[in-house]
């Protein structure tokens, strides 16, 4: 077995250079095939442009900030090849305020300290003044990387334990948390996950997911390459405006695997309902539609099945995975065709933290995320760190062959996330039953909107910058929304007496600072928001209070 990503890439290239590595869908909607030879020749160009890593203990980082384009993948692979550590960063959103984006971008530069910053022309233009002082980073664009072709340069001699990739989660807080992944961890994950999925020569992955997201980077780009199966990639922004293009590309390329966040299932169902399905659509080639990165809603899956059943989607092909960057990607994978649902007593779950047969009270359906990958060990633990027996609710802990090496340059955050015995504390609540993992909620106050993990404190800080909001008196909560298949962001704020237009000010601030649209912005009376004794926003209590008042039929709390 090859021990580094570079060795695998080299072997794949030598095996069959004329095989298609991927199809990149262009702005005209046409698929451009890219052979291994072409992809790696361009990666070689990039590797030469990066050059040998300078001597010293710190390996150089190549931060890649670019809209989808033909060089995005090659720049990443070229960095990997030449011993640089590639890290995709989200390109600037056209909606976000330029000054705000520049400020957050500068913060990343200060933290990541890339030796090279790869930018396409559009990102460079939008970033403008932030680039006047890139903190010592060399700025490199496609134009600065001449196509030389020829044999690949000699790769940097990586060892399995070396950091291969940095993966950043979204959000201001997330930017401080670069997940460092070694060659060994990435390969262990890909091989194990591919085996569980039974990935073989006949497979093809269809994707629109951005590469700065772990699902896009790992499941839909690196794993297909490593396992030698092609992928079809639609630029994210094009997909957002034309979601059905995914189904058309699946049919065109007979794709077999598709990872989607829950909201995408709901959106595809809605577009089919409102616009109809492309005549003659046949997506029966897909053997697994894997829901990931968001809570799986039964209603979204049902709507998707109803809409695309006639086109070849069936119940036994709907699947799910529980995944996170800290385990490279997948921690579990549901067995195809056997999604288990446990109906349990809600009160026992909420108060006794264990499952029980439903009695006279309300019940709740828990949907399985499947068994843990054979390369990982899962434990559910109580707050004191003791392992709990099956059927008991606690925090999910993971350890095993493909855990991250730590948060980049943040030993403090790494120490916080790890237990003394080397397990990663996921911050997710769940339980084990008959070898299957059920994720029920989270300890961390995260809001997940369309697959984006958002920290409420970041959202609240952005909302508080709107004129009229009383400092420290704003709360951000996520409410499950079946229509969108995602969470709906609700902002509750207390305003200075006499201030006007506060709600619109908050909406505008969220777009400018975070490229985020609130589902609902409400002003609440002074001292309505609840804080804990330590002065922190008690979001769980606020959420309960909000839901109670809303279902109580009061329009304004």
């Amino acid at each position: 077995m090859s021990a580094t990503l570079v060795e695998v890439l080299r072997r794949r290239l030598e095996e069959d250079p004329d095989r298609t590595a991927c199809w990149l869908v262009g702005p005209d909607g046409r698929s451009q095939p890219v052979t291994w030879r072409r992809l790696m020749a361009r990666a070689g160009d990039w590797a030469r442009a990066f050059g040998k890593p300078p001597p010293g203990p710190d390996r150089p980082i190549a931060a890649i900030c670019s809209y989808p384009g033909p060089d995005l993948h090659a720049a990443f692979l070229g960095a990997l090849w030449s011993g640089w550590i590639p890290a995709f960063l989200a390109p600037p959103s056209p909606r976000m305020d330029r000054v705000k984006f520049e400020a957050s971008f500068r913060a990343i530069l200060r933290h990541v300290r890339p030796a090279c910053l790869v930018l396409d022309a559009a990102s460079a233009e939008r970033l403008g003044p932030a680039l006047a002082d890139p903190g010592g980073a060399r700025i490199l664009g496609s134009a600065g990387v001449p196509a030389q072709g020829g044999p690949m340069p000699e790769p940097w001699p990586a060892t399995p334990g070396d950091i291969a990739v940095l993966q950043h989660s979204s959000g201001t807080t997330g930017l401080q948390k670069g997940v460092a992944l070694s060659h060994r961890a990435i390969l262990a994950h890909h091989h194990a996950y591919a085996k569980v999925l039974g990935i073989g020569a006949q497979d093809c992955v269809a994707t629109w997911l951005p590469l700065y997201h772990d699902m896009g980077l790992m499941a839909c780009f690196l794993m297909p390459l490593i396992e030698g199966v092609p992928f079809v990639e639609i630029p994210t922004f094009d997909w957002v405006l034309r979601p059905w293009s995914l189904m058309e590309k699946i049919q065109e390329h007979r794709a077999t695997l598709c990872w989607l966040p829950n909201f995408a299932f709901a959106l595809l169902a809605r577009t089919a309902r409102d616009r109809g399905v492309t005549p003659g659509l046949d997506v029966s080639s897909v053997r697994a539609w894997i829901s990931c990165s968001e809570f799986v809603m039964a209603s979204s899956q049902r709507a998707f099945l109803d809409a695309y059943g006639p086109s070849g989607v069936s119940q036994d092909r709907l699947s799910a995975s529980y995944a996170m960057a800290e385990t490279v990607f997948a921690a579990t994978q549901a067995r195809p065709g056997s999604r288990r649902v446990l109906r349990v007593d809600r009160r026992a779950l909420d108060t006794e933290l264990r499952i029980a047969e439903p009695s006279t009270g309300p019940s709740i359906d828990l949907v399985s995320s499947g068994p843990v990958l054979p390369t990982l060990i899962i434990e559910v633990r109580d707050p004191a760190g003791r392992a709990l027996p099956q059927g008991h609710l606690g925090e999910i802990h993971l350890r095993g062959e493909h855990l991250f090496s730590g948060y980049f340059r943040r030993p403090d955050l790494t120490a916080e996330a790890m237990t003394p015995d080397g397990s990663y504390r996921t911050g997710d609540l769940g339980l084990l039953q008959d070898g299957e993992v059920y994720v029920t909620g989270r300890l961390k106050d995260l809001v997940i909107i369309q697959g984006r993990n958002l920290h409420p404190s970041d959202i609240e800080a952005a909302a508080a910058s709107a004129p009229g909001v009383i400092p420290g008196r704003v709360a951000a909560i996520g409410i499950a929304d079946e229509e969108s298949g995602s969470e709906r962001l609700v902002i509750l704020a207390e305003a200075e007496p006499g201030s006007v237009g506060v709600e619109m000010g908050i909406r505008r601030a969220l777009v400018r600072e975070m490229d985020l649209s609130a589902g609902e912005v409400r002003l609440v009376p002074e001292r309505w928001l609840v804080k804990s004794t330590s002065g922190k926003m008690a979001r769980a209590d606020i959420r309960r209070k909000w839901l109670a008042e809303r279902t109580g039929g009061r329009a304004h709390p």
Binding site: V240, R270, E503, V511, L516
Partner: protein, 81 residues
């Protein structure tokens, strides 16, 4: 379809029917946080449902055509010609 009808659609789709949020024909729907890019598609689909005969082509679903109530009015008028 006039501006007030489109305003009604925008309020229902994105503001939970809230009538207190001030909206004008020129309010920038994306920039002011009323909706995101996915919202533009919802708007296009809703208009097709309401206006038999209107077919919004894929390439027309853009922030230029759906960026404000006024722009939507002009787009719909043009598309129905």
């Amino acid at each position: 379809m006039d501006a007030s009808e489109i305003e009604g659609i925008v309020r229902r789709l994105f503001l939970g029917g809230d009538a207190s949020v001030p909206l004008t024909e020129n309010t920038r729907l994306l920039e002011e946080g009323i909706c995101d890019s996915l919202g533009l598609l919802s708007l296009a689909m809703e208009l097709e449902k309401r206006l038999p005969g209107l077919k919004v082509r894929d390439q027309d679903i853009t922030p230029e055509h759906f960026g404000s109530i006024g722009e939507i009015c002009r787009f719909v008028a043009g598309a129905r010609g």
